[in-house]
Symmetry: C2
Subunit: 242 residues, 2 copies
């Protein structure tokens, strides 16, 4: 069977997330529906990351097996011609039959966008924060995340996760005019991890939690010690590396 890899983008605003589910419009079902029709066989689509409701993706990766001999550019054109406009597939390539979008991913890169100015335009793509933020203080915390750590304090209890250790390869706040942006690259992410980390760093950056408390929050392995999860609309899955 042929194995096809897709690189795609979506606007998470009107989706309940990546994953197939009965309670709402999701990206996986939208794409699968088109592929079933185009390839005339039932398709199983595997995504690299299960983004939550309202979370966006600029570089989501997925793969599927097919018996069809339809060329990849025809598949790509059929997808973009049929999919709703909040999904766009940038590339379709034939890959080794062993390639698995989720298990073979080595690194994922997420970005979180904050705006310090309230706005109507682009409100779907950032979180408005009304506090002054001490970005150098937030960058001190961001740097403490680098390397391998246990992130149990930043995820919901989930029975299926074997352990909570993640290796963080990049963790940095930058700022363009009035938009502080956080970038985090890691070998793996736990459910809700980026949004809990950003929430905790914002609490520190606005002076609500002292920076000295961070190591204890991390060591506690208790979600209740960390800050609130920030809204999903500021979060983007930017890139998956294999």
């Amino acid at each position: 069977m042929r194995n096809i890899k897709l690189t795609l983008e979506y606007d998470g605003t009107d989706f309940v997330g990546w994953q197939s589910q009965t309670n709402g419009r999701n990206v996986q079902d939208e794409i699968t529906k088109v592929l079933d029709q185009v390839l005339q066989e039932p398709i199983t689509l595997v995504g690299a990351g299960r983004t939550d409701s309202g979370v966006h993706a600029r570089g989501q990766v997925a793969n599927f097996k097919t018996n069809s001999s339809l060329g990849v550019s025809s598949i790509l054109n059929a997808l973009n011609g049929t999919l709703p406009e909040d999904i766009y597939v940038h590339a379709a390539t034939e890959v080794n039959e062993k390639f698995h979008a989720r298990f073979d991913a080595r690194e994922r890169l997420y970005k979180y966008y904050i705006s310090l100015i309230p706005s109507a335009i682009g409100r779907q793509y950032h979180w408005y924060v009304k506090y002054d933020l001490d970005l150098s203080c937030m960058n001190e915390v961001a740097a403490m995340l680098l390397g391998e750590h246990d992130f149990e304090s930043f995820t919901k209890a989930e029975a299926l996760v074997p352990h909570h250790r993640c290796t963080i390869l990049k963790s940095e706040w930058t700022k363009t005019s009035t938009m502080p942006t956080y970038e985090i690259r890691a070998n793996r992410f736990l459910h809700g991890m980026v949004r809990a980390l950003v929430g905790t760093m914002v609490d520190i950056g606005r002076g609500y939690i002292p920076i000295s408390a961070f190591e204890n929050i991390m060591a506690a392995k208790d979600r209740r010690k960390a800050g609130m999860a920030v809204p999903p609309n500021g979060l983007f899955l930017e890139e998956v590396t294999y």
Copy 2:
């Protein structure tokens, strides 16, 4: 009576435009509805520019008269606390009773955003163009617009307009990575003018119309000679100057 000036932003995606009308959700009615309630009297809201369906505004200006003694910051808070999230009022100030948002406007600045890459994210805020565009050629045309000209070729026939002369103060294409952006500042704009101008310049930039044809298009005073109107979602009313 007090005269209050509002500076506001809106995402035009889900509006049929600025102006009050019976056939759809419009910005003027949304704001008037809140003002009526907050000020407990019927309010007439005057906008500086009547943006079309789907057109956005970052710096729309409006004014209204009121007998209420409610402070401007209370009015501002009431508006932003009640208005839907696709409208945001940046400022409310008390102005001279003679101030008229539309008639007193000296200059308006519009921007039009093009993307050369198709996308799901941000698709509401630009027009995707699949052609290569010769931006220096488009800038030659843009420069020809400077000064006072008759723009009848770039507007629909409208009985109420006394003449079609506009003085263009700025007209320039710039490009940030894959986004060519057109900026035009003028003393006045005719209905559909920016979108017809952009459509004509894009036709020239992609080699569909020769640059030498532009002067004739302008001189023809015939809308049919110019290019198609480009989609509204790339257009932003950026600023109104008094």
